[in-house]
């Protein structure tokens, strides 16, 4: 279990440093597989129930096959290959990742004084994934990378829940999974629409609606 958590954390680091969108999608798909395996390890060998099995299979099917397929299609449709000039460079992103990892470790250390936590490494990985998901959402320009960031964030929440041992019934877990899946599916569909309407996937050029950035928008229009 600690091995999987470590792999999850490493995949996040690689995501933060990767400029190729296809590699990023694959990395998130890989996270999906790891995440699918995690419930089986939590249950412990020999005690794997039907519920854990269903959850694990659904997870792998949705997060590492179906969604990456959709996102890859969207990627090829748009013709974009690379994340161009994120607000924070890739090297700095990895450095920030290290800081975020340290912060996650510190938070978990603090939490341990108030409650017994079965697996602190997994919890650290969970927090780290939440932070890096948020980091990707804030610093990247492409709508596709934002979708990936959201997926990483969700994966992090899932991992956190698993390591805290807060188990709901399998129906609730499946419902949560379904919601997340439909959400990302919708985002994927919207990627196609964004590409068709704007001919690009750059979210930072979304500024027609802001109350504060009216000047920027009108300047840009004048420029075009």
């Amino acid at each position: 279990m600690n091995g999987i958590a470590t792999l999850l954390a490493i995949s996040c680091m690689l995501l933060l440093g990767s400029s190729r969108l296809l590699v990023s999608i694959r990395m998130v798909a890989f996270q999906g597989v790891l995440l699918g395996l995690l419930p089986l390890f939590v249950a412990g060998s020999g005690h794997i129930g039907a519920a854990a099995l269903i959850l694990s299979i659904t997870n792998i099917g949705l997060k590492s096959i179906l969604l990456p397929w959709l996102l890859t299609k969207a990627l090829f449709e748009s013709g974009a290959r690379r994340e161009i000039e994120p607000f924070i460079g890739f090297g700095t992103s990895i450095l920030s990742g290290v800081v975020l990892l340290a912060v996650s470790g510190y938070i978990v250390k603090r939490l341990q004084t108030t409650a017994e936590i079965s697996s602190s490494i997994t919890l650290i990985a969970g927090f780290f994934m939440v932070f890096s998901g948020l980091f990707l959402l804030i610093t990247r320009r492409k709508a596709l990378t934002q979708t990936l960031g959201f997926l990483v964030l969700e994966n992090g929440v899932f991992t956190t829940g698993l390591s805290l041992g807060s188990e709901f019934s399998v129906y609730v877990e499946l419902g949560i999974l379904l919601d997340v899946f439909v959400g990302i599916f919708l985002m994927g569909i919207m990627l196609f629409h964004i590409d068709r309407e704007f001919d690009h996937l750059d979210v930072d050029r979304f500024n027609e609606l802001s109350d504060l950035a009216v000047d920027i928008a009108s300047n840009e229009e004048a420029g075009e």
Partner: protein, 492 residues
């Protein structure tokens, strides 16, 4: 019990069916019929004398009664209104995406998503289990995103994307909160519901409960439109079709608020957590009031003005609950009043938009002359939304000030009144300009925007808000008091 499940499941079934109905008329009639059946069943359920329905998954208490009836009523109004609205807007055939052809055209998707949206909101309101409620609230985001993108243009796409990303992230944080709340419980708790947790409040770990409350407040607060997480709200509410804006503002924000109220219900039972929760609610409430006050002044877009007014009223709700005592009951009454008034204003803004073809305040002049009915209602809506007597919103806003003064929170009361004044001035200039003002050069034919079905829902909603202000019937009072008691407050 069956009725409660039917309220959630029926719209899903009919929603999926309407994707595959090719006849425009049949589809619209189905939407209307479902709306009225839903309203009828909700009233039946809330009127039921079978005692409190209190399951592990689905339940009904005073809080859910209140919000269920409001939601169902608003949906019926919006569905009725959308019949005419859909006629006036062109629809598109479903695009082929990733090689898959989507069934139906954009109107079919509209009808389907409206019904799925209703189902998701019913689930969010009726669920007692915290996990199930999360599923319901997240599902509302999913069902409403295609509705916001109904017009299929750049602006609506941008709004829908922002809505989707910001709300999904917020709700993901709320899920963290649900996990933390599970950590706060002990093995004594058998039901992961507000009632189940309050019953064993002595065994709850206060620190974890506080952390969970922060995550709930930030997470669901994003969806509710509390500042500073409100950034998606003006965009989504102004770009969505008017009947959808009415639903988003009047019903959806309430559902998210209910998410916060459910954990508040647990916090009330734990002394240390209650004070903490109240402080946070007051801070977020005042901040929302401040932000809306600032952005409403000189707002060039009247639908955005209405959206910022929603931020303001969500701030009032949070503030009312945070102040405690009878302010909680006042906040519940205010939730009902705001929903009715704001929904009618958004529907009326659809009438104006259809005739003037502009969302800019400066383009709309002499509304009272061009569209007498809409203009008069628009003006009445202004008085109602700013809390002028004799509308019910005045009673609730006044009750909140009274509690603030009685409890000695002078600072809170002063700031509250100051921000209300700011909003009043901002809205006054906009409404005066729109209703009176000099007539522009081009003649506007207002009759197009005033068909019977476009006027009826706002008339019904505003009349209800007026009557509730004059006289509070016993069943309304009992529901509101019951809801306040659940949240540790006093009767109105």
């Amino acid at each position: 019990m069956i009725t409660a499940y039917a309220l959630i499941i029926l719209p899903v079934i009919t929603g999926v069916i309407s994707l595959f109905i090719s006849s425009e008329r049949v589809r619209r009639n189905l939407l209307i019929i479902v709306a009225f059946i839903h309203l009828f069943m909700s009233i039946l359920l809330c009127n039921g004398s079978a005692g409190e329905l209190n399951g592990i998954w689905i339940g009904l208490d005073a809080l859910s009664r209140l919000f269920l009836v409001i939601t169902s009523l608003l949906f019926t109004g919006s569905a009725t209104y959308s019949m005419v609205y859909l006629d006036k807007h062109p629809h598109f055939n479903g695009p082929a995406i990733a090689g898959l052809r989507m069934p139906g055209n954009s109107n079919a998707i509209f009808a389907a998503c409206m019904q799925l949206f209703l189902s998701a909101m019913s689930l969010a309101i009726l669920s007692t289990h915290f996990g199930l409620q999360w599923i319901g609230i997240e599902a509302t985001t999913l069902a409403s995103t295609p509705l916001i993108y109904y017009h299929r243009n750049r602006r609506s796409l941008e709004a829908a994307w922002k809505y989707m990303i910001i709300c999904s992230v917020g709700i993901a944080l709320a899920l963290m909160g649900v996990f933390f709340l599970a950590m706060a419980t002990s093995s004594h708790v058998h039901q992961f519901t507000p009632a189940g947790l309050s019953l064993f409040s002595g065994y709850l770990k206060v620190e974890w409960l506080k952390v969970a409350f922060i995550f709930f407040l930030v997470g669901y607060g994003t969806k509710m439109g509390l500042a500073p997480m409100h950034t998606w709200l003006p965009d989504a509410h102004s770009e969505a079709p008017s009947p959808v804006s009415a639903m988003l503002s009047g019903a959806l924000l309430n559902c998210a608020f209910l998410g916060i109220l459910r954990i508040y219900q647990v916090c009330v039972a734990v002394p240390g957590a209650a004070v903490f929760a109240n402080e946070l609610l007051i801070i977020f409430g005042l901040l929302s009031l401040a932000v809306s006050g600032i952005f409403i002044l000189h707002q060039p877009d009247y639908k955005r003005m209405l959206a910022y007014s929603s931020v303001e009223h969500m701030g009032i709700l949070a503030l009312g609950v945070g102040l405690g005592g009878s302010a909680i009951a006042a906040a519940m009454l205010h939730a009902a009043g705001h929903s009715l008034v704001k929904a009618s204003l958004f529907l009326l803004s659809g009438n104006v938009l259809a005739v003037y073809a502009s969302k800019k305040v400066e383009d709309v002049k002499a509304l009272l002359k061009a569209m007498p009915l809409t203009g008069a209602l628009w003006l009445a809506g202004f008085f109602a939304i700013t809390g002028t007597p004799p509308f019910t919103t005045f009673n609730s806003e006044f009750a909140i000030v009274r509690v603030a003064l009685q409890s000695g929170s002078w600072k809170v009361a002063t700031l509250y009144l100051l921000f209300l004044l700011l909003v009043f001035i901002g809205m006054l200039t906009i409404f005066m300009h729109m209703c009176f003002g000099k007539k522009g050069e081009q003649e506007v034919d207002g009759t197009a925007g005033e068909s019977f079905w476009q006027i009826l829902p706002p008339v019904v909603f505003l009349t209800t808000a007026l009557l509730l202000g004059l006289y509070l019937p016993d069943f309304v009072r009992n529901t509101i008091d019951g809801a306040a008691l659940l949240l540790g407050g006093k009767a109105l």
